[in-house]
Amino acid sequence: MQLDDLNAIAEKEKAAAKKVCLRTCMSAGCMSSQADVINKNLDAEVKARGLEGEVEVRRVGCMGFCGQGPLVGVDHDDGRHELFEFVKPEDAPAIVNSLKGGPCDVQRGDPQHPFFAKQVKIVRANGGIIDPESIEDYIAAGGYQALHQVLTEMKPAEVIEEITKSGLRGRGGAGYPTGLKWGTVAKSPGGKKYVVCNGDEGDPGAFMDRSVLESDPHLVLEGMAIAAYAVGADQGFLYVRAEYPLAISRLQIAIKQAKQLGLLGGGIFETPFIFNVDIRIGAGAFVCGEETALMASVEGKRGTPRPRPPFPAESGLWGCPTLINNVETFANIAPIIGRGADWYASFGTEKSKGTKVFALTGKITNNGLIEVPMGIPLRQIVEEMGGGAPDGRKIKSVQTGGPSGGCIPADFLDTPVDYESLTKLGSIMGSGGMVVMDDTTNMVEIARFYMEFCMDESCGKCIPCRAGTVQMHHLLEKIAQRKATLRDLIKLEELCDMVKNTSLCGLGQTAPNPVLSTLKFFRKEYEDLLQPDQFGPPGNGQPNPQSAPK
């Protein structure tokens, strides 16, 4: 495979394009409502009318507006786009009929709705457009050009330089500068190095990575290959959670196709560069998203974290230097190389560059996935794009960062969404889950819910987290059941402090965050549930005022 061959595939694919394209979302959300049957029926209908010469029926990945699914998009040759929502298999004849101006009463969505219009798509540019099971589609959309450019025109150090310049930060939660991490792995001594893609996506309420893997698997593979070249690795692992069977099967197809075309394996683009990727399937443990636990799991062991340092960049899989990045981080790589670091850095804020994909869920009118430039005010996301809370309710808070994050109250909706601003509010950017809560939500109950999650998912290796989450959960239950006093609340706050500061890994260190952030902004809801203390206010020697929170 050389550049000419790549371009020839793209040209052939483009030349075969038909006048009209009917795109059916075949991602997990819409598949749960028979999207596969819809696609089949559309295909049969087009053939039955002899339209296959001018109408293409294409299965595509997630279009983002999952709450309105199943979705069918129509691209007309005059540049018009249409969107059909809540499509049922029996709607196929009407939809095909409408192509020639026939009547069709299937609900139409508005492609110009702020939900779509305000998005800037870099990671999800191909999502809902190309067939995720066709490498030719990806190539026609410019795929694997960046890999070619890197292998034939750039030195590894130049690639790292470009990624550093783009300002890209890890999308898996912590926001560590990607270029810096690559540089560390590249510099680490050792002949064997690994690249690992973290597709564990354990945060409840988050499905950005799933949609990227299901909608555009080659984008992730290309990003991994570029990373491998930059850091000097020849083997990659894609760790995907078992809950995502569709993502796994699409990745398997993608890897096979890329190998067949010589875009993975040995001698890629007829250079000495070798890169192989294996899929590793998780087995339902949230903690395996933590990088050291993930590596243990890739090695076939119990997924328990270990202390860092040594960091994976120095000693990772089987003791070799290992680069671990999140799915979305890798998905940003090819666009950055292709269009330049400066172009990428023109999106976002000073310290948070580029775009971020968010999963907008919970009590919100428009459920789904959006990709927006960093720094966009939260209000624009939930009110304009998300359409606010349904049933005339008011938004009370927005939860970001999952069980490691916090609840941002409605008063702070004008906060720009970037790493620093969210951290300042006691929450985190996290991987991109945004669960909206309306005024019927009980915040103590939410804190209890997250604590239960952390308690269940604690791996049990260290005591502060293993025992602390159980105790905190117990106290939260007691408060919720109106059986607690101020003493219990103070004890809860002490425990939060202790678990946060003494746990071994991020799970324990951040487990108190939902409690702390709801206490910070909704303390009254806790206090309203407290019972009078028969010994009067705490203070006579117990609990110790010195360890009480400031």
């Binding site: 749960s32 709450g67 988050a206 087995a283 062991k301 869920t361 009590k363």
Partner: protein
Amino acid sequence: MQATNISTGQNRLRRALDHASGDKRFKILEVHMKKHQFRQDALIEVLHKAQELFGYLEDDLLLFVAHKLKLPPSRVYGVATFYHFFNLKPQGEHTCVVCLGTACYVKGADKVMNALQDRLKIRPGETTPDGKVSLLTARCIGACGIAPAVTYDGHVAPKQTAEAALEKINQWK
């Protein structure tokens, strides 16, 4: 699995291997292990395959895997119990997995769960005494856009209500 002395441990293994020799599924599993060159780091992949073939991971099966991958049984058992995805007990004829992730939870997954518990008279993680239905929970299956989601026999169903869930369960009776 907790063999207290060597001879019972070996008896156990011999019995497990005897058991294995009469069952075609063990052959398939062994072919799968061979595909992974009996590599010890493929343990999780092998357990996935084992569960796919047998439905759950019984003790004999774990001993068989440990023997073939040359791993101590404690390691295999340790991995099998660590990950939620692996079942060590047989599951019901049908499975119903209610997602209790945040997005589903704030949209009323708890109500769906309560209705199912009341109807089936079992708690999450249990199977009805007649072996018909297992009631399980998940922590987000990535279908949050269509919350609350319930997986019935492996098929995800969108926007579930207590009524919809009970109707589905009734079809299994």
